[in-house]
Amino acid sequence: MISKNLYDLIGLAIAVCFILALKGLSSPKTARRGNLIGAFGALIATAVVFRSPDMTLHHKWWIMGAIIFGVGVGVPAARRIQMTQMPQLVALFNGVGGGAAALVAIVEYLKLGSAASTPDVVATVFTVIVGCVSFSGSIVTFLKLQELMTTRPVIFPGGRFVIAATLLGTLGCAEWVIHSLGNVSITVMAVLALIFGVLFVLPVGGADVPIVISLLNAFTGLTVAASGYVLQATLLIVAGTLVGASGTILTRLMAAAMGRSLFGTLFGAFTAKPQAAVVGGEVRSVKAGSPDDVAILLNYAQRVVIVPGFGLAVAQAQHTVRELADLLTSKGVDVAYGIHPVAGRMPGHMNVLLAEASVPYEQLVEMDEVNPTFPQTDVVLVVGANDVVNPAAKTTPGCPIYGMPILDVASAGNVIFLKRSMRPGFAGIENELLYDPKTTLLFGDAKDSLTKVVSALKAL
């Protein structure tokens, strides 16, 4: 056993580790080190808690077993996951964290007894509610991202009414729990909170899901802080609050990068019906090209900008696209990648995916820098992206992505789309650019198409 003072001092050092971790994660050069500092702090915290003065160690084998089991589940999942599935995994990890916080609060609640002070009960109730919402909400975001359920917003008649009623029911139950401690009331409350979590995320459209994950992440942080209050653990308060506050800022930054208001995202943005059928189902002509046409266009270009989207990652075409870029560079073509902030499924996701394929970091150009260069660009190659280049974001008020900043590829000389089909993107909106005379479409799996273009280019 170590003294209470020493224990608290170690807790303070660990809190500093977490602050340094978040600080480090905010800059590319220090990000990895920051994460390792955080992991180190967490490791020390876990080791030291067993030596804390108020531990009984009655159940230590159970606890050790549970930790080993958790490591056995978590580490392989984190190591084996494909980079394209990263957002789901983060959602899932966040959900289990929220679930853990809710369980901790429930156990605390069972032990509170009638002598409990009101602030303790309120903090416990808060943790149970928000932890449950975070848990079930994260599970729904996981299902959406894994495409185990529809990625479109799920709206049902009177949906808003049902959501409001569930929320009121949960809060009413909270009142009940606070005034009369009992196992029934807290169970009902937890179940209602779980239902609310599901209803809360269902109406959110696929493209907005990352914002919701980030928000739920902040929620979980706050529940951890509230648990810390109940358990009188300063470290939990600091760590939970840090995540709650930074998560809130991050959520707002993400929403801003997508040109959306946070409020609109959560309450009824994307509720408009997709406007795909504006032309009344009339078949409009598009210009479909062959790999040879594309190779010729690229071969005689001075400057080519590649716009990668999630389709590229799904087709595992990162390496082939790099091969194409290297080939073009060797032919004296100026090649850059135009990266939309939310290309992929999460902000910054595409940078991770391309980094995985060892694309040089200098070739990745962010939206604000690449947009002014499009008028001097001869060919834009859009690989598996759609919403991030859709001019409807600028021209069609009221469409779901209106106001989102886009890559302004329409001002380039030629646009080539590599697409699997005419199916609209994740947001479910028709893209006018596909029908533009300067657009060429090359249908097929992105990887196959790129491989064919590469061999056609080599033959030229």
Binding site: L22, A42, A66, M83, V90, S358
Partner: protein, 107 residues
């Protein structure tokens, strides 16, 4: 200062630190930052260990142990996956990557 008030002060100051440390972060790092913050709230593990340790009934022990499992997955998995993401930002070609790309071809 009462204990409750001390904890409240810590809470309020932490809010400001949390706002401050991430106020300027490039979009490139949004995903790893979210994932890293996610791992940090896995520190609920020490809360879970504490309540499991103090459990008097089988129900409390069962819930506590479940919380330990979930929190461990959150914390350990979160840090590992964040590290994997950040490792790739270095972007230097390595032999290992080439092997992976060949593995991808067969799909």
């Amino acid at each position: 200062m009462s204990n409750g008030l001390a904890l409240l002060s810590i809470f309020v100051l932490s809010v400001f630190i949390g706002f401050e440390v991430v106020s300027k972060v490039s979009t490139t790092l949004h995903t790893p930052l979210m994932s890293g913050a996610n791992a940090i709230h896995g520190i609920i593990l020490i809360g879970a260990i504490t309540v499991a340790d103090h459990a008097d009934t089988n129900l409390e022990l069962g819930l506590g142990i479940a919380a330990v499992v979930l929190a461990t997955i959150n914390m350990v998995g979160g840090f590992v996956v964040t590290d994997r993401m950040l490792e790739m930002f270095k972007g230097k070609p390595r032999v290992k990557k080439e092997v992976e790309s060949v593995g991808g071809e067969s799909k």
